[in-house]
Symmetry: D2
Subunit: 360 residues, 4 copies
C-alpha cells in the first residue's frame, strides 16, 4: 500500500527540476497520497532533512530554475564521508537511509537525477527501496530517453550567447569562440551551433585538426566574411590533448575540465591574422527560467512517475519515446552514454550548409 | 538534370521560414546548383517576381522572423483573380506558372507552406512540376509530421504572456483569460497552458461546460487562491456557438474568427464575483526571432529538401519522424488535420495535476 | 517615535512594486523598525488585513512582477461601499483606518500608488496620518517625478511587440497597428514607437488627421516599402471622436476605453490598398519581471521612503530628479498630469528621422 | 556649406551604434545632405574605405547590436603603423585623412566613439576637421554625459546573468561570483548588483577587505541563507593587487585584465566552508539587441549630431543632461573619467538594504 512518497533531486541543478517536483506533488496529492520533500539529495536521506510538501509549497515554482529542495554533486550514500577519530572515512549509509524512510513512513521514492544519482537509486532499489527515477541531464547524454528537461533551456542560453557574439565578431572582424558544456557528448555545441549560425562546431565525438579550422576561416575571408564563429564543447579534443578521467560522477560543475576554448584561441592566433576572443558560458547554462518545452516535459515526467508508483511499478525510470512517456528499468537506463553519432542526420545537415566540424 | 531550383513561401508567415530559405540556398549552392527566390508566394510565380539567391542574400537571416521572400494568404493560382472588362474573374494560371518556370530555367521548386500551399503544390506537381514541399504550420496541425517549425516560437510567446498575466491575476485577485491561436487544433493552448501554469485550458477538441469552469475557479477560491488563469484556443466552442466554416484555406490571420475570449469573460462575470480580463495574443504569436528548436528544424528541412531533389525525389514533402527527417508523398501529406486526442498523454498529465478542460 | 511602519500598494499593478516593498522592509528592519504589510490596498486598512514582513517574506521577490501584498483599483476609504439594510451606501471610513492603525501600533505608512492612491494618502495625512508616498504610474504621467518604475518594463514589452509585428508586416506587405496604454499621456507610444522603428506614432497630445497617416504610408510605398508600422496610444483621438471622461481614478485596466486601434484600421482599409491588422497589447504591459532600471528605481524609492520617515518627514512623496531622489509634498505631487509636449526634444528627433505624428 | 557628411564608429562595439548611424543617415537625408559611411573606424579614413549610406542601407538595423560600419580598437591615425623596409614604424597620418575627406567631398564628420576616439576627433578638429562627436561607452564612465547608450543593454545582460546564477547558488548552497566589465568605473557592477539582488558588490572605487566579504557571507548563513551572490567589477582591487596600467586606450576587450573573479573565489574558498564558482561575463556584455532606452538615446544622439552640424556647431559632442540633449566642447568632454562616488545615493540605498561593498 502506498500512503506517503518522498521526492529528491540529486546531482547538478537544471531548469525544470521544480516542474517535476510540482507535478509529483500535485498529482500525488490528487491521488490521495502524502508527499515529503527530501532536502539536498541523498545526503538529506541520511541526515533526515524531510519536509512535507503541500499545494502551497509548490505554488509559483513552475517558472523557477534550480530546485526548491536543494541538491548536491556530493554525498554518495555508499561512500559517505564521516569523521572517525578526526579522520575522514567513507562508509556505507544505505541501511540508515532505509531505516530513516521507514521511520518517516515514506513508502516509495521519486529520485530526480542524472546517471550518477540514478545509479545510486538502482543500488538502493536492489537493497529493497521502492523507487521510480526521473532522468535529468542538461547535456542530453542519457541513452534511455530521447531527450530530457534542462537541455532545451541550456540550448537557448547558448544560442542567445552566439547571437550576441555574432555582432561583435562582425563589427570587429574577429574570430569569436564560445565554449559550452559537454564533456563526453557534444549535443549542446552541435545544436546551438546550428541554431546560432556557427561556422565551426567542435565536439568530443568528432576528432578535429586545427588546420581544418584554419582552412574554414580562410575560406570565409575569401568570401568577404572577415569574421567567424566557433562553438566548442568543453570535452572537444585538440590534438593529443585528451580529456582527463571523469572523477566525480554526475557533477554539476561545467567548467572544471574546461580550457579548450582558450587553448584553441591561442593556437588560432598563431596561425591566422585575425583577433580571437573566447567566452566560457559556464554556469549560465544551468540557470534561468525553464523553456516551455522543459516545463512541459518536467510536468509529464512528474505525473508519469506518480502514475507508475500507483500502478505498482518499481525500479524503473520514466523516459520520453516521442511522443510517449514510457518506463524502462533502472538497470537498463543507467551506465550508457548517448553521444553524437557523426553520421547523425543533424551533423549531415550542418555539413550540407557548410558548417565545419574540423574533420575535413 | 538539376541545374537551377526555385524556392517560395506561401500562406501565413511563421518564425523559421528564413532558416529554411537559408538552408535550401546554402546546401544547393554547395551542391553546385543555382537558386532563385520567388517573391510573394504563388503569385510571384505568375507575375515572374524572381531574384537570384546567393550566400550574401541569406547571410544574417537565421535569427530573423518572417520571410525575406514575402508571402501571402491569397493568390491561389488555380483561382487567380484577374480583371476582365473591369470585372473580377477567377482563372486557372497553372500553365502560366509552368511556362514562367521553363523560361527562367528553373528545374524544380521547393514550396514552404501549410496545408493550403502544399495542396496547390500537389496540384502543380500533378500537372508536371518537379517539387518538394516543406511543411509550415504554426498551429502544429499537420498530421504527416511530428511537429513543424514556428510552433515552438509561438509556444514561447504564449507561455511568456501567461507568465506576465500571472502576476496581475494574483495581485488583483482576477480571472485572466488568454486567447491564443488554434481554430481546429488546440496545441498552442494545451502546451502553453501546461507550461504557463494555467488552471483551465479550453480547446476545440474537448467540449466544455461553463459550469465546470466556474466550479474550478470556485474550488481554487476555497483553497485560498483568489485568482485563476484560463487559456482558450480561438476555436474552442462555448456551448452551441459553433465556429463558422473555414473560409480561406491556410490563412495567416489569427483573429478573424476570434471573440471566444471576450464571450467567455462575459459569461464568467455573470456567474462569479471576480473581475475577469481578456488578452487576445493575435499576431504576436507569428512574430519574433525563432527559437533554437525552430531554427534547427527549419535548417534540417531545408537541407533535406535539397537532398531529396538531388536524389530524384518528386512530389514529396519532408517531415519529422523523431529523430529522423523523412519524405512522404504530397498526396498523403495534405488534407488531414492533426488534432489533440483527449486521451493524449499530455492531456492526461494536465488533468492529473489538476488542470480543468471544462469537460468534467 | 517610530517603532512600526506599514506599507501598502494601491491602484493598478505594475512591475517594480515588489522591489519597493522589499527595500522598505529590508531598510526598515536594518534601522530597527518593525514592518507590517497591508493587503489589498486601502481596503486592507479598513478590513485589518495586516501581516508582519520579515526578511524571509521579501526574499526572492525582486525579479517578480505584481505585488505580494495585493492591490485593487477600488476601495476609496472616503467612499467605501457598505451594505445598509441590503442597500449599497458609500461611507467615509477614514477614522476607522486611523483607529485600526493605532490598535495595530503602526506609527507611519508607506503608500505606493498612482495619482488616485496618493490623493487618498494626502487626505489621510490631512486627518493626522504620518505618511510617505512612493509614486507608481506605468504611463509615466506623474508630473512631480522624472520617471517612475514600471514604465521601462512596459516600454520593453511594447518595443518587443513592435519587433515581432515588424516581420509579419514586412513578409505580408501589411500595415500593422499596435495599440498601447496611455489615455491622457502618450509616453509609451512615443518611446516604444521610436525604439521599435514605427513609421507613425499617434498620441493623445497631438491631434492627427487620417489623411496625414495615409500620406505617410503612401510615401513609404513609393520608396519601395510596402509595409508600415503604426503605434497608437489608447487615448489618441481620431477626428471628433473624443475620449470619454476618466471615470475611475487610478484604474489599472488598460483596455476599458480602447478601440482606437480597430477604428483606425477600419478607416485606413477604406483608404489604402493594403491589408491592415491590429494588436491590442492590453494587460501584457503591466506584467513581467521588472527591468533592471525599474528594480533599481523601486529599490531607491523604498530605501528613500524609510529614510524620509526616519528623518521625520511626513506628507511627502519621494521622487526622481535625475540623478537624485528627493522628496516633494503630497499636495504638490498630486493632481497634475505630465503629458508629452509636442515641442519635446524626442518628438522633434522622431520627426527629424521621418516618423509621422499625423499632424502634418 | 554642408553638402556631404561622413559617419564613423571607433573603439569597442556597443549596442546602439546602429541606432546612431541610422538616425544620422535618416535625418541628414531629410535635410538634403548626402551621407558617407566610413568603415572600420579611423583606419577607414586613411584607407579610403568609404561607402554611400541611403535609406535602404540603414533599413532594419535599429534592433541590431554592433555596427554595420565595422570598428576597431586599433588604428590611431596619429600613430599609425606602417611597414618601412620591413620594419614597423608609427607615423602621423592625420593630413592623409584631411586630404582623403577633401577628395571625397566630405564636409564634416560624425564620430561615434569613447574617450579614445573622441580625443582623436578633437585632435583632428584642431587640425581643421569639422566634426561632431557622439559619446559611446558601455562602462558609463564619460563624465560629460549623464549616461550613454550601450550601458542599459550591458546592465540587462549582467542582471539576467545574476538571475540565472541565483537559482544555482540557492540550489547548491554556493557562493556564486559574477565578474563584469569596469576597469576604472564600477557602474555595471553597482547597478546590476542592486538589480540582480547581489549580497556583495565590489568596485574599483571602494577598496574592500576580504574579511568583510567573509563576514557578510557568514552573517547570511546565520540567517539561514546558505548561499551568496557576489558581483565584482574586473577592475576591483583585492588587497595590494593593483590593476596594471591601461595600455590600449578605448579598448573594447573586457577580459584582458580580468582574473579578479577567480582570485576572489580562491581566497574565499580558503576562508569559508562553501563551494564557490566564478562566471566571467566577458564579451556577452557588448552584444545583443539594444534595449529600448539605448535605441532611443542613440536615435536622439544621431538626430542631434546632424542638427548641430546644420546649425554650424563644430568641435563639440552631443550629451544627455536629463531630460535634454545638449552639446559640449570636445575639449571639455574628453579625458575625465566618471567614477562611482562612494557617497552616491545608489551606493547608500544599496547599503541601507544590506548590500556589502566590502569596506566595512
Amino acid at each position: 500500500m502506498l500512503k506517503r512518497i518522498g521526492v529528491l533531486t540529486g546531482g547538478g541543478d537544471c531548469p525544470g527540476l521544480n516542474a517535476v517536483i510540482r507535478a509529483v506533488t500535485k498529482s500525488a496529492l490528487r491521488a490521495g497520497l502524502e508527499v515529503v520533500g527530501i532536502e539536498d539529495g541523498f545526503g538529506g536521506l541520511i541526515r533526515q532533512q524531510f519536509r512535507p510538501l503541500n499545494l502551497a509549497a509548490v505554488s509559483g515554482i513552475l517558472p523557477k530554475g534550480g530546485t526548491i529542495l536543494g541538491t548536491t554533486n556530493r554525498d554518495n550514500p555508499f561512500k559517505y564521508p564521516v569523521l572517525v577519530n578526526g579522520e575522514k572515512k567513507y562508509v556505507d549509509m544505505s541501511q540508515t537511509i532505509l531505516d530513516n524512510l521507514a521511520v518517516a513512513g515514506i513508502d516509495a521514492l521519486v529520485v530526480i537525477g542524472g546517471d550518477g544519482s540514478l545509479s545510486i537509486a538502482r543500488e538502493l532499489h536492489n537493497k529493497g527501496l521502492r523507487v521510480v527515477g526521473v532522468p535529468k541531464t542538461i547535456d542530453n547524454d542519457l541513452s534511455a530517453t530521447d531527450i530530457t528537461f534542462g537541455f532545451d533551456t541550456a540550448l537557448h542560453t547558448a544560442t542567445e550567447a552566439l547571437d550576441k557574439l555574432h555582432t561583435t565578431a562582425e563589427s570587429h572582424h574577429r574570430v569569436m569562440i564560445l565554449e559550452v558544456m559537454g564533456r563526453y557528448a557534444g549535443w549542446i555545441a552541435l545544436e546551438s551551433g546550428v541554431a546560432g549560425g556557427a561556422d565551426v562546431i567542435l565536439i568530443p565525438e568528432i576528432e578535429f585538426q586545427i588546420e581544418n579550422v584554419v582552412k574554414k576561416i580562410e575560406e570565409r575571408c575569401q568570401q568577404g566574411k572577415k569574421f567567424s564563429i566557433i562553438v566548442v564543447a568543453e570535452g572537444a579534443k585538440l590534438g593529443e590533448n585528451l580529456v582527463v578521467q571523469k572523477v566525480i560522477e554526475d557533477s554539476g560543475d561545467p567548467i572544471r575540465l574546461g580550457g579548450i576554448g582558450q587553448r584553441l584561441a591561442d593556437e588560432l592566433e598563431r596561425r591566422i591574422n585575425l583577433e580571437t576572443r573566447v567566452t566560457v558560458l559556464g554556469h549560465l547554462q544551468r540557470g534561468g527560467s525553464p523553456t516551455p518545452f522543459d516545463r512541459i516535459l518536467g510536468t509529464r515526467y512528474g505525473a508519469a512517475a506518480v502514475e507508475a508508483l500507483l500502478e505498482g511499478e518499481n525500479g524503473v525510470m520514466v523516459a520520453l519515446r516521442t511522443p510517449d512517456i514510457v518506463t524502462v528499468s533502472l538497470a537498463e537506463a543507467t551506465g550508457v552514454l548517448k553521444r553524437v553519432n557523426p553520421e547523425h542526420d543533424l551533423v549531415q545537415a550542418a555539413k550540407a550548409i557548410g558548417i565545419s566540424f574540423g574533420d575535413e
